[in-house]
């Protein structure tokens, strides 16, 4: 199978010449997002990680953030509005956060413990005047462990969790702190606040035209002097259509286009557009049903289909916009461990294992996979699934693709493999971000995470995985926690709970004028060091 099986109209561009119009202004970065609307600017951004990328870490700071300054290693936690955090000795439920002093909101008011309490109250306390249901929906989802909170002094807060949870600091990367003074000034109206937000972040919102444009300007008084933005202006444009984003970057209408299509890679390169990629904390696997009536209850079948996937071939089809995946994380990641099961392309071994499991030409294995047409972070599901369908056919497996529109697929996912509507479907193709231990591993592997509670779609119930998951949550020493995570991942790969396919590379099409960009191994971006030349 070759990439030319999937031409788009833009493929014809190969034969045409082009000219790039000069950028409108030096120092202005124009970004074409894949979103159809500007994410909410109230410090509780909607629209997933792309929302957080553009409306979260730009205008706001969280208590804790990610170090996005390195491209060669996984993005790790670093202090932000909290300078230190640790659980109280002898009481792992209570976390104490020391707050940064001398920080100001964009409206000039001072950041302190009251602002943190306000930012929690607005999402968690229904009786509080600042409570807002839309904010609650975002906060609660990302901070499930938060139980209560109190101010200890002007620059210290204590947050209590529902259970001992060593992974709690990761949840605080989503607690963006909004200015209570600005909210009061705007008549306690969150809708007004969304157009005139005030955070402590390196960027300030200057103009917001819903569904059309957001213009951000640097916060020259930003507390971290090394991260004061170099650009004069950052313009965010919602351009959901991929060919429109490609045309926009080729014509010089934007300087930065998110997620270009694989079949435009050559054309973009010819035009001098830089394709920036890196290994992302993201995976594109098949989650398998391990319920008793599923063929995947047999580990030999799970391993066989892992051997059946030609990952290198698929990466070629995608013009390099992916890297082969042999686990939830890449082998150089501290959580990878040393699995004995080597995920690789070996059709002969796949056939042998299938025969051992009782499948043959006369009695072929038939499986159904629920897939989407497209969706947030789903890469190119139709191309990729059809490629794998061919791979499976080569080893005598009939894969039927049951195609859903993205939201319909999410509904199937929430039902779990055990759901009545998923009868007969034993594979789910849903890609996932894996920025932290919970999102990357824990949420798939414990019986307590079986839907509707969590995302253990396949009903994985392995005592060793369950026990390791519990130990990880109770281990507060980062080094020991990493060791346990490596053991968990190792077991997960050895059990072949998923069929691993590829990791996304977070492709960006950048004008050659864009300088200073560091492609961190994270869905988030630090726009501060970027400048235009």
């Amino acid at each position: 199978m070759k990439s030319r099986r999937y031409p788009t109209f833009l493929a014809g561009l190969v034969f045409t010449a082009m000219a790039i119009v000069p950028a409108a202004a030096q120092g202005t970065l124009r970004v074409a997002m894949t979103l159809a609307d500007i994410p909410l600017m109230d410090g509780a951004p909607d629209q997933g990680t792309e929302g957080v990328r553009f409306s979260g870490y730009t205008v706001y700071d969280a208590l804790i953030s990610y170090d996005l300054s390195r491209a060669d290693q996984a993005a790790v936690l670093r202090p932000s509005l909290a300078t230190e955090w640790k659980p109280v000795d002898g009481d792992p439920l209570r976390w104490v956060f020391k707050l940064r002093q001398g920080v100001k909101f964009h409206d000039g008011s001072a950041f302190n413990a009251d602002a943190v309490i306000f930012s929690l109250d607005r999402g968690f306390t229904k009786e509080h005047p600042a409570y807002d249901a839309a904010i609650e929906r975002q906060l609660k989802a990302y901070m499930p462990s938060v139980k209560s909170w109190k101010k200890l002094d002007d620059f210290t807060v204590e947050i209590t969790t529902t259970t001992p949870d060593s992974l709690f600091p990761y949840q605080m990367t989503r607690l963006f702190v909004a200015s209570p003074t600005q909210w009061e000034k705007l008549g306690r109206d969150w809708n007004a606040f969304r157009s005139n937000p005030s955070g402590t972040g390196p960027w300030m919102l200057e103009t917001l035209v819903p569904r059309q444009r957001a213009e951000l300007v640097p916060n020259k008084d930003y507390w971290d002097k090394s991260r004061v933005p170099k650009l004069d202006r950052l313009i965010l444009l919602p351009v959901p259509e991929v060919s429109a984003r490609t045309a926009a970057i080729l014509s010089g209408r934007v300087d930065w286009a998110e997620v270009p299509s694989p079949d435009t890679v050559e054309r973009l390169k010819e035009a001098g557009i830089r394709l920036s990629t890196n290994s992302m904390p993201h995976m594109w696997p098949y989650t398998l049903s391990e319920l008793p009536d599923s063929p995947f209850a047999d580990i030999r079948v799970r391993k066989a289909l892992n051997y059946a996937v030609d990952r290198e071939g698929l990466v070629k089809v995608l013009n390099g916009l992916a890297v082969p995946s042999v686990g939830n994380v890449t082998p150089d990641h501290p959580w990878f461990g040393k699995p004995t099961f080597e995920v690789k392309y070996d059709p002969a071994e796949a056939r042998r294992l299938l025969a051992e499991a009782g499948y043959s030409k006369d009695k072929p294995l038939k499986v159904k996979a629920a897939i989407s047409t497209s969706g947030s972070g789903q890469m190119y599901p139709l191309i990729m699934n059809e490629f794998i369908q061919e791979n499976f056919r080569e080893v005598g497996v009939e894969l039927e693709l049951v195609v859903f529109e993205w939201e319909a697929l999410r509904a199937r996912r929430r039902a779990g493999a055990q759901g009545e509507e998923n009868k007969g479907i034993t594979m789910l193709n849903n890609s996932w971000t894996a920025t932290d231990p919970y999102s990357g591993l824990l949420r798939f592997l414990s019986p307590s995470e079986i839907p509707p509670a969590g995302t253990n779609w396949g009903n994985i119930n392995d005592p060793e995985l369950t026990s390791l998951s519990e130990q990880i949550r109770a281990e507060f020493d980062p080094k020991k926690q990493d060791d346990l995570l490596a053991k968990l991942h190792q077991r997960h790969v050895d059990m072949a709970n998923f069929i691993w396919v590829v990791h996304d590379v977070g492709a960006l099409a950048l004008s050659p004028k864009v300088k200073g960009h560091v492609h961190a191994r994270s869905p988030f971006v630090d726009f501060s060091p970027i400048y235009m030349q």
Partner: protein, 317 residues
């Protein structure tokens, strides 16, 4: 005449209610849960239930419909689930933007379609007719989406003559009729106008030919009427059919083309509708569809009135 208008207005009420009922049913039959679209992946079942309650989606469908219709009747279309902004506010901006495109594309389609159709009809089976037919068949056959991408490739990417997306320059605050904004309008106008122009031209041609074959035209010619006077009578008789088609085509344009607006990131009703569908934003979807349906009803009424003005026979029936 007044009675005729009143009767037509009365007819439009069940049409609008019927449309709302169909829209309401369709969005509920479609797979996928609006609450699932609204909440992050990490949301718990309890949060899903709470959100369902917050938006009244836990009530029986009939009750939900009655509440929505009651609110819509007094002009309250609710708030967008995704953005929290009032649907009426979202719609006002989008309808304004689509109007700009529809007026521009509608004018181009009607004027060009009318002239081409008339010319083709007058010179039937001659080279000019064949050329116009080729042109209009191409216009009808080209998908909007494909034409839009092609225009962008040629005029934006290769020639760098016109911008590929948006309504105006980076720092534009609202649309203005200056060159900086007008240049953003050219490509979407052509892409939107292509099909309606071709349909209007073909209708006009057929109508012209039909009228030209009628006895009264021969009589007019035999009476020695000047050719331009004959043409006036022919056009006047061909007009009602063409006007009806023009009305429908402009109605289509006012609905905003989902595909053209998406390709050009033109923030009109089509663009709004597409994002409402993908986000399962029920209030926004229902509100947009209702307003678009009302446009159609009003426009059809306007066309009927113009037709009855140009052709008294319609009034009598």
């Amino acid at each position: 005449m007044l009675l005729y208008v009143a009767r037509r207005l009365l007819y439009s009420i069940p049409i609008i209610i019927g449309v709302t009922l169909i829209v309401f049913s369709l969005v509920h039959i479609a797979p996928g849960d609006p609450i699932s679209a609204l909440l992050p992946n990490e949301a718990t079942a309890e949060m899903v239930d709470q959100a369902r309650k917050d938006f009244g989606l836990d009530k029986p469908l009939v009750v939900q419909y009655a509440i929505w219709l009651g609110n819509a009747a007094v002009g309250n279309l609710g708030k967008s689930i995704a953005s929290g902004r009032p649907v009426s506010e979202e719609l006002t901006a989008a309808v304004g933007n689509t109007f700009i495109l529809a007026i521009s594309a509608g004018t181009l389609a009607c004027v060009l379609g009318f002239i081409l159709g008339m010319v083709a009809g007058l010179w039937r089976d001659r080279a000019l007719d064949h050329a116009v037919s080729l042109f209009t068949i191409s216009g009808v056959s080209l998908p909007h989406y494909w034409l839009a991408i092609l225009l962008v490739i040629v005029f934006s990417v290769n020639l760098s003559w016109l911008p590929p997306l948006g309504m105006g320059p980076d720092t534009s605050n609202g649309w203005r009729p200056d060159w900086a904004h007008l240049q953003h309008l050219i490509l979407p106008t052509i892409a939107t106008a292509a099909i309606p122009m071709a349909v209007i031209a073909r209708t006009m041609r057929a109508a012209m030919i039909e009228v030209l074959d009628q006895d009264f035209v021969t009589t007019l010619r035999a009476k020695g009427l000047l050719p331009k006077r004959v043409l006036w009578h022919v056009v006047r008789n061909a007009l009602p059919t063409t006007l009806a088609v023009m009305g429908l085509q402009i109605g289509n344009m006012l609905g905003g083309s989902v595909l053209v607006e998406t390709v050009f990131a033109w923030p009109g009703t089509g663009f709004l509708l597409a994002s409402a569908i993908f986000q399962r934003d029920l209030p926004l979807l229902q509100g947009t569809m209702l307003v678009l349906a009302m446009f159609f009803v009003i426009l059809n009424l306007a066309v009927d009135l113009i037709q009855s003005w140009t052709d008294p026979r319609i009034r009598r029936t």
